[in-house]
């Protein structure tokens, strides 16, 4: 019986190890911390594996545990509940239609992405990089699906706005194609 449980756990949970670790590294931006949190996630998943129903979404279940562990970690680490400056986004800027700049480098994209507040960065990471559906993101982050849509929408707006700022700072011009040819993309 215990052997079955162990085998089931290894089969279901470790199938998502790589993507969970990849997300953890991106979210924590620190490999050691990411590995600690992934380990804690697996330990907690094992302890509550009895509650997991085979056939339901194991990936979303694991992500949900991970984000809970991550949230605890952030809270304990700094006792600083606010993850971003309240000035970061003014309401008036939310509806601005910024264009995606054509002259950005991958480094600039990484930089702009890293500067996004956690909730937006995490939603974008799960959607854009890991390809989770909105429903899965909602389950993983324990938020309503409307909030997932809103975080993705605002995250993309902020990213575009930040890239537009970076782009105008560099003052460089040129089309997307030119930059592709010159290796900037």
């Amino acid at each position: 019986m215990a052997k079955d449980r162990k085998e089931d756990f290894d089969r279901f949970a470790f199938a998502h190890f790589r993507e969970l670790r990849r997300v953890a590294v991106r979210v924590c931006q620190d490999r050691e911390a990411a590995d600690d949190l992934v380990q804690e996630t697996y330990l907690r998943a094992w302890r509550s594996f009895d509650k997991f129903e085979p056939g339901t979404n194991c990936r979303a279940w694991l992500f949900r545990i991970f984000f809970y562990v991550h949230s605890e970690y952030r809270r304990n680490q700094a006792r600083q509940p606010l993850t971003f400056s309240l000035d970061y986004v003014k309401e008036s800027t939310l509806s601005s239609q910024t264009k995606t700049p054509s002259d950005v480098t991958l480094e600039e994209i990484k930089l702009a992405f890293a500067e996004l507040p956690d909730p937006f960065r995490i939603a974008l990471l799960l959607s854009e990089v890991e390809g989770l559906r909105y429903r899965e993101i909602a389950d993983a982050l324990d938020i309503p699906i409307g909030t997932v849509m809103s975080r993705l929408s605002r995250g993309r707006q902020m990213l575009r706005a930040r890239l537009a700022t970076l782009s105008s700072k560099t003052g460089e011009s040129g089309s997307l194609e030119e930059h592709k040819k010159s290796g900037r993309l």
Binding site: R21, S102, L125, S127
Partner: protein, 285 residues
């Protein structure tokens, strides 16, 4: 092609690219993109940004560190799966200690000449003190993260809101009312931020968004008001937080309205919310 059409389509563009729209809606976006070069170009830009973002964020896989990490977890899991013997020893030790304590107590009671020491009073550890400022800041952050991102065309849907609010809080919508002067209720749900769970109603009007949050009160260091009637208001950068504390729940109204106007809308929204919560608390005992 009207500007409002384009505006609507651009609101739908990201869910369309994520393949998250209904088939009919998706078709209407596709039809529009076929007719509108500006929106088609915007769609291309977004596709390109997605491609670049994915490329930028895809980690170069370091198999060695991945394997080390996995082995470490497997070892930890093995430890976790092997606690039975240790647990038996611990329980055995606890049982023996309990018997010893009971035996000693019995012996002492049976010998009244010896003073009986009063039993040690268990003092639970003090719960962590949560600063009010921290609670207000979390409410503002959740307002920004959650409420402000709802698309402009987001409308109230009774079925969706009833489901997302859970049966306990679904009647709150009728209790508080959907229309308050210029402000209309557009959304209601349960959401969480920094391990706080909020019942969250979102109103919109006059170009502003107003959040009503209800959260279980963990202000352990704060005196509990016996008759919560006064609305306190604090300012945090561009935001106002008007709040009332029942001792078991905290109700707050958050917006970027001027102080007087936020207080005015709070005075409209809080009394009905407060009655609802107090009734709920009474029923829960």
């Amino acid at each position: 092609m009207g500007d409002s059409d384009c505006q609507d389509i651009r609101e739908l563009l990201d869910p369309y690219l994520d393949n998250e729209l209904l088939v009919e809606t998706s078709q209407s976006v596709l039809d529009h993109l076929g007719l509108c070069p500006d929106c088609a170009a915007e769609s291309e830009r977004r596709i390109e940004l997605r491609r670049l973002l994915k490329k930028a964020l895809t980690l170069e896989v370091d198999r060695d560190s991945e394997n080390i990490s996995r082995r470490r977890i497997e070892t930890a899991l093995e430890e976790e799966r092997r606690p039975r013997r240790r647990a038996k020893i611990v329980w055995g030790a606890l049982a023996a200690s309990l018997l010893l304590v009971l035996g000693l107590t019995y012996w002492r009671i049976g010998n009244p000449s010896k003073p009986v020491n009063p039993p040690a009073v268990y003092m639970p550890p003090s719960p962590p003190q949560v600063l009010i400022a921290e609670v207000d800041r979390d409410a503002v952050a959740n307002h920004q993260i959650c409420a402000l991102g709802y698309p402009p065309n987001w409308t109230f849907d009774r079925q969706r809101v009833a489901r997302d609010l859970t049966p306990a809080f679904a009647p709150l919508v009728d209790a508080i009312g959907r229309d308050h002067a210029a402000y209309k209720l557009i959304e209601g749900h349960i959401c969480s931020y920094q391990q706080r769970q909020y019942t969250h109603l979102i109103f919109r009007g006059n170009g502003h968004t107003v959040s009503v949050f209800i959260e279980p009160d963990d202000l352990s260091g704060k005196p509990k008001p016996s008759h919560p009637r006064e609305i306190d208001q604090t300012s945090l950068t561009a935001y106002q937080v008007a709040s009332v504390d029942t001792g078991r729940h905290r109700i707050s109204v958050v917006s970027d309205l001027p102080s007087v106007e936020n207080l005015a809308i709070a005075k409209q929204l809080v009394p009905a919310t407060l009655s609802f919560i107090q009734k709920l608390e009474h029923e829960e005992g």
